[in-house]
Structure formats: C-alpha cells, structure tokens
C-alpha cells in the first residue's frame, strides 16, 4: 500500500502547519531596518526646472523602499507624483503595495525586513510599531513641515507625546452620498441639520415602495468586516458630544457601556437599524451585515436607496460613467451634527509616513513627502486625493468631492477627529469593535451586550 505512505507524509505535514503558521512570530526585539540607500555623494546645486529640489539633492543613486496599503491605480498616481523628484535628485522610490498591509508590516518589521518607509493608515498601528523600537524619529525638515497641519493631525502622528510620522493624504468620512436627480424629481432638499435629515428619511420612506428605502449600508469587508458601522457610531459620538468625550472614548476613560456611548448607539439604531429606513435595494436590517461596503451604495443609482453614509473614498466605487457632481447622478453632502451646538464635526482618516531608517536619502524623501509642494504635485496627477496640509493650493482640486472634502478638512474651525477605531488598540479597534458591530447589525445582539464584549477586549496589561 505505497499509496497510503504518501498520505501519512501529507498528514504529518499538515499537522505541522498549524504551528508553523503561528510560529512566524518570534518574541523579543524588533528587527534592524535595512536600507539599500547608498548616499555619500557630495551635494550639488540643482538648476533649471530642478532648482526647487535642491534641498533634497546629494543622494543620487539611492533607492528608498516604501510599503503601503495603496494599490494600483492609486499607487500609479503616487509614482507619477514623485517622478520629477526622482529625475532631479536621483533618489528612486520603490513603492510596494499590499492589500494585507496591516498584517504584513508587523511580520516584515519583526523579521528584520522592514521597509525604509511605511505608509500607515492607523495611528493604533503606528503606536504598535513605535513600541517595537524600530521606528526612527523624523528629521528636522519634516518636523518643521508639520506646522502646516491642524494640531489634531500632529497628535495622531505622535506616540506618547513624541512626534514620529507626518500625515500624507486625508479622507473625509462625514459625508452622505445621494442622487441629486432623485432628490430633485421628488422635491427633496439636502438636509442641513440632524432633525431635517430624520424628517427627510421618514418623508422618503412614506413615498418609497417595494424594496426601496431611504438608507442603505453594507459593512462586509473581508477581515475588516464591521468597520463602516464603527464609522457610523463615531460620527454620532462626535456629533452628539464633541471632541472631549470622543477623545476620552478612544482612551477608554469613557467605556462603550457608558450611558453616553449607549445613547449614541441608540441614535445609530434609530437611524440605520430602523426597519422602515434600511436596507434600500437589498433587504432587511440584517442584510447590512452581509452586503459589502463596496456594493452598499449602488442601489442609489437605481433609485432603490435614498442615502448612504460613507467616506469620500467611496467615490471610486461608482461604476464608470457615473457623473459625480452637484447636478449629476450622485453627489454627497456633509453629515449634519446630531447636536447643532457642536461646531462642524468632521471625522476623517489618513495615512502617516513612518520611517524605519534614518538614512539621509530616506530623510530627504520624508521631507519631500511632508512638503506642500509634493501634495500639490500629487493633486495635479489625478483626482480622488486630498491633503489636510493647510498650505496646499486649494484651487488645484478639480473634483467636486475633493473640493468638498478639502473644504472641511482644511477648515481650522472644524471639530476634526481621526477615525476612533483606527486609533484604539488593535485588539479593540480592529477586533472586538468590528465583531461587535457585525453582531449588532447581523445577529441582533443588544447594544448593551455588544458594549460589554468590546469593553472586555480592552486588555489591561
């Protein structure tokens, strides 16, 4: 029975796999970042159209590796945005994108295989990386550039009061997508207060028939399933209580089981778990849990759904040929504050350029990427990208959604806060809260039980 001998080998092998997969983690010290950058050339003044890049010169022939979650075609736009920088300074930026970035980066860093620069979208992950001891402090030029951002941004790029990473792009989460055409045909107007929005929803629900409902939503998103619902809760917490409670909520001074957060959950439930209002074009409330966030808003185009609360980057999900404009097929309005006394609550997200090497060429790239000149260059390449850098030339934005987002993100009077779940420890923000939201929407678990489960995940040690 030779045939079976092979099965034993296979069996032994697969038994081993369970432990091998886990074994990738080795405890203890962080890896040493490896830089392939050469450097060492004497600085040469750049002339002609290269003159603006003089500050970054002197490292010709170096290669700086960069790792992030941005994939093609957005990553192609990044590559184009620094093409002139590479041509003039001779520093090649080798960007690699991964759709499992959040789990890949710790493995790379821990394995001593860290990229020179990483574009980290979660302050929580940044804090985790800093705790490995592998993150290098930014050069003086980057620290100086940081003044161009609102103070809140600097704090999200800092860990325990030390500034580590400058923001790169920013996205605006407090938006509601709708169909201007559908609104116009039915005499609906864009709401400017929370009460207006609730009234509009019930008016719309009264008018709609069949599977059509005023709101739609989808929170399924692979390993990250549940995140859109965390945004809904964050919007309501920020819009009801303002920045202080929001910050205390992130640091767990205010627990999920706190009456304030419970009230916010109730507001979310009345809004997006209302059987008369959701889930437009798909089915019942529970179907929100199984609908992918990418597909969530598509019923808007068929007039099956009135509105979708989703971030500015949802623009990329509309099918080719959809006109995104105030008079087009779809557009977005700013989500009003639940409590009108909270001044322009804006929830956003973004990425932070984190260095694992202090090589001069790497620092030159860091300085360049934190400059308003680079942001301008990126904006010119393609729409769908916004910077919260206040020095950026606002007239460069061509896309209406970019203009709308930039208007609020660069507004110094707005109550800006970063996505809370991205800022909380990963065990909560990327674990228990995601699962909790899915249980809340999909399995009908009570808000109190969901809160209890999330609070329990907050490790005390």
């Amino acid at each position: 029975m030779k045939r079976n001998a092979r099965f034993v080998a296979v069996a032994a092998g697969v038994a081993a796999l369970a432990t091998v997969a886990a074994g990738c983690s080795s405890g203890g010290g962080g890896g040493t970042p490896t830089s392939s950058a050469g450097g060492g050339n004497t600085p040469a003044a750049l002339t002609g159209d290269c003159a603006p890049y003089s500050a970054y010169a002197g490292h010709s022939g170096s290669t700086v590796t960069m790792f992030g979650s941005i994939l093609s075609p957005e990553s192609d736009s990044l590559n184009k945005s620094w093409a002139d920088f590479t041509r003039c300074t001779g520093i090649t930026i080798q960007y690699t994108g991964s759709n499992t970035f959040e789990s890949d980066l710790p493995v790379k860093v821990n394995g001593g295989n860290a990229p020179n620069l990483a574009i980290i979208p979660q302050p929580g992950l940044l804090a985790q990386m800093v705790a490995t001891g592998a993150v290098k402090k930014p050069p003086a030029g980057t620290v100086a550039n940081e003044a161009n951002w609102n103070d809140a941004w600097k704090s999200y790029g800092s860990v325990d009061g030390t500034f580590y990473a400058a923001p790169m792009s920013a996205n605006m989460k407090s938006l509601v997508w709708y169909s201007p055409k559908y609104f116009k045909d039915n005499g609906f107007t864009v709401p400017t207060t929370w009460a207006d929005m609730m009234k509009l929803s019930s008016d719309m629900a009264a008018k709609m028939t069949g599977a059509a409902k005023p709101w739609c939503g989808g929170i399924s998103s692979g390993t990250a399933s549940g995140w859109p619902a965390t945004d809904w809760l964050e919007e309501v917490v920020l819009g009801t209580y303002g920045g202080q409670v929001y910050d205390d909520w992130i640091s767990h001074k205010v627990k999920f089981s706190d009456p304030q957060i419970q009230t916010a959950m109730k507001t979310v439930a009345d809004w997006l778990q209302n059987p008369a209002w959701v889930n437009g074009g798909v089915g019942d409330v529970k179907s929100i849990a199984t609908t992918t966030f990418q597909a969530a808003g598509l019923p808007i185009l068929q007039n099956q759904c009135g509105m979708l609360q989703q971030a500015s980057f949802y623009e990329a999900q509309w099918p080719k040929g959809t006109k995104v404009a105030a008079d087009g097929d779809v557009f977005a309005f700013k989500l009003p504050a639940v409590d009108p006394s909270i001044k322009t609550p804006v929830e956003g997200g973004g990425e932070f350029v984190t260095a694992f090497s202090d090589d001069p060429a790497v620092q030159a790239v860091q300085n360049y990427l934190s400059s308003p000149e680079w942001a301008d260059s990126r904006i010119k390449v393609a729409p769908g990208w916004v910077s919260a850098n206040e020095k950026v030339d606002q007239t460069l934005y061509t896309d209406p959604i970019d203009q709308l987002s930039a208007k609020y993100l660069a507004d110094p009077t707005a109550t800006f806060r970063f996505d809370a779940s991205d800022t909380m420890p990963a065990a909560v923000g990327s674990g228990a809260e995601w699962t909790g939201m899915v249980d809340w929407f999909g399995s009908g678990k009570s808000a109190a039980d969901v809160a209890k489960a999330i609070d329990a995940a907050w490790l005390t040690s």
Binding site: N4, F7, T435
Partner: protein
C-alpha cells in the same frame, strides 16, 4: 507621460531580472554544494563510509524539519505562555497558562471550539460516505470516467476559489428583487416565498459551509476508495457471490472490511483537513454570525487583532488536537503493512 511609463516599465523589468538572477544564484549555489558533498562522500571508503552516508542523508532533512517545524513549534508554545500582543513587542511577561484558561472560559472561544468539533464529526463522515457511494455507483456506469471527473473536479479547486463560487450560491437579495443567489432562486421557484439570508442564519450557516468542504473532499475520497474497491481480488467477490452474498450484504461483509485500512486513512486525512479549514469560513463570513472556527480565530488573533499570546495558545490547542489523529493514521498503516 509616456516617458514615465518607460521608466516604470524598465524598472519593473530590472527588478524582475535582479530577482531572477538571485534565484539562479541561490539554486546554483545549492546544487554546487550538493555536488561537492556527494563527491567527498563518494571518495570516502572503509570504516567511515557508513556513518558519512548516514549523516549526509539525515542532516538536510533534520535541518529543514528543525527550521520549518521544530523551531516554530517551540516559539509558538513559548509565545502561548506570554502576554505578547503584537509581533516585535518589547517587555513581554510570562503569564503561565492564562491564555489557555481564557480559551476555555471565554464564551465566544468556547463556542468556536465546540463548532470546530462539530465540523470534525460531520464533514469527514459525510465526505467519506458520499465518496464511497459515488465510487460504488459510478463503477457500474457505462462511462465512469465522465461522472468521476465531475465529482473529482472540485478537489482541484482551491478552498478560496470554491468559497467564492459558493458565495454566489448563498447570496441573498430581498425576495421582491431579481435574485442573484442560486439557492434562493431555487427555493423560491419551489414555492418558499421568503427564504432566509443563508449566511446570517445560525446554525444553518455553519452547515451550509460544511457543504462546501464536503463538495471538495467527496471527490478525493471517491477516487481513493474507488481504487481500493477495485483492488479487492476478483476471486474474493466471486466466491462471496457463490456463497449467496450480494448487494448490501456483499458490501457490508466483504467490501467494507477489505478496504477498512483505506477507509480509516481517508477518514483521518479528511479530519485533519477539516481541523485546519480556514479558507472557507474566512472567505464566506470571516467568522462572523456564529460561524467561527479554531483556525480562523487563531489567524485573526495573530495577525489582525494583535493578540499573539492568545493566538499561539489556540495554535497549540489545534496542534494537540491533530497529533492523535496523525498517530492513529500512522498506526493503522503500520499494522496494514505487517499484515501484507
């Protein structure tokens, strides 16, 4: 624009060339070392010949086993005793068996373990049952290869691929809308007005996902068991027939005992696959809606939610659960070899 495209293209080609060169270098170096080792060993004679040959044959295997199995296993067991939260964390404390206590007391993890046991009991038995049935039936068909291919095809599909296919089968849309899910469409056509959202309805969703694994594994058991059935000597069957056994009786008293060894091996092999099944649950529900199983939970603890200690403890539990199956598998094979 074109210029930058060219630059990008050439850099991609350059990277590819560098990688290729690296691969050639590594493989070439490996072959060269092997060549030298074998050459030296070939020259050795006399008393040293046997020990040298032993070492040369054993060392690479031992090295690879240590690198790929023993060291990671020890690291994982070590991690499972710590409060480590993420890879590369500094200041890690040993907390004894707390992670194991957590695994067996946390209600969600308890359910996950129970659910894994359920998978373990149902999937192998049904897969082997279906495989055996198909093997017996197909044997009497005119063109067995066509039917066999149909049943065996899913075995060739990756778990993720299969899950993506089945996601369309289980897709849910409000009954008033045009359906995209095959299952919903079929039951609506059969007169069930309001089919549930399949992947949301616990515990039905777990069983529906088991169907996917059975669909994949049945082909495998059919092929192996079919071959074992064919290997039964024709004389045995004939003499049994002459003694009056046929149909069910022939199957139960002659065929099954004669392929018992293969049956056990297929059963345990499918069991081991089931224990590690990760892809299906990961792709279909990501462990949500009360469908989580051990392997997926381990992955998410390790790589998504940064709880390396807890994830490692689950990995060790999984490992301990697989070991007896492997031992049993090996023992059955040994005994069979002795008989022959």
């Amino acid at each position: 624009m074109t210029a930058s495209h060219v630059v990008m293209a050439s850099s991609v080609a350059g990277q590819a060339a560098t990688t290729l060169l690296g691969v050639i270098e590594a493989v070439g170096g490996f072959v060269a070392i092997l060549f030298i080792v074998f050459y030296v060993a070939g020259r050795a004679t006399g008393r040293l010949q046997k020990p040298i040959a032993l070492i040369i044959c054993l060392v690479p295997a031992l090295f690879l086993v240590a690198l790929g199995l023993v060291i990671p296993a020890i690291t994982t067991i070590n991690n499972s005793l710590t409060n480590q939260q993420f890879l590369g964390q500094q200041k890690i404390k040993y907390i004894g068996l707390k992670n194991y206590v957590y695994a067996f007391t946390d209600p969600a993890t308890q359910q996950t373990i129970l659910r894994t046991v359920l998978w373990l009991l149902i999937v192998p038995v049904v897969s082997v049952g279906v495989g055996l049935l198909v093997a017996l039936l197909v044997d009497r068909m005119k063109h067995p290869s066509a039917a066999k291919t149909m049943v065996f095809l899913p075995t060739a599909i990756s778990f993720v691929g299969a899950s993506v296919i089945w996601r369309y089968v289980y897709d849910y849309k409000d009954p008033s809308l045009p359906q995209t899910g095959l299952l919903s469409q079929v039951v609506i056509a059969l007169g069930w007005r309001n089919p549930p959202n399949w992947m949301l309805t616990a515990p039905l969703n777990t069983f529906l996902m088991m169907v996917i694994l059975i669909w994949i594994q049945a082909g495998f058991s059919m092929v192996v068991l079919g071959a074992a059935l064919k290997a039964i000597p024709e004389e045995v069957i004939e003499s049994a027939r002459m003694d009056g056994a046929s149909g069910w009786r022939l199957f139960r008293t002659i065929q099954v005992p004669m392929i018992r060894g293969t049956l056990v091996v297929v059963l345990t092999t499918v069991m081991i696959t089931t224990l590690k099944v990760f892809d299906i649950v990961f792709t279909m529900t990501n462990g949500n809606f009360s469908t989580d199983i051990l392997a997926r939970r381990m992955f998410s603890d390790m790589f998504v939610t940064s709880q390396v200690g807890r994830g490692s403890a689950l990995a060790v539990i999984l490992f301990i659960a697989v070991v007896p199956l492997v031992f049993y598998n090996v023992r059955v094979l040994r005994r069979e070899r002795e008989i022959r």
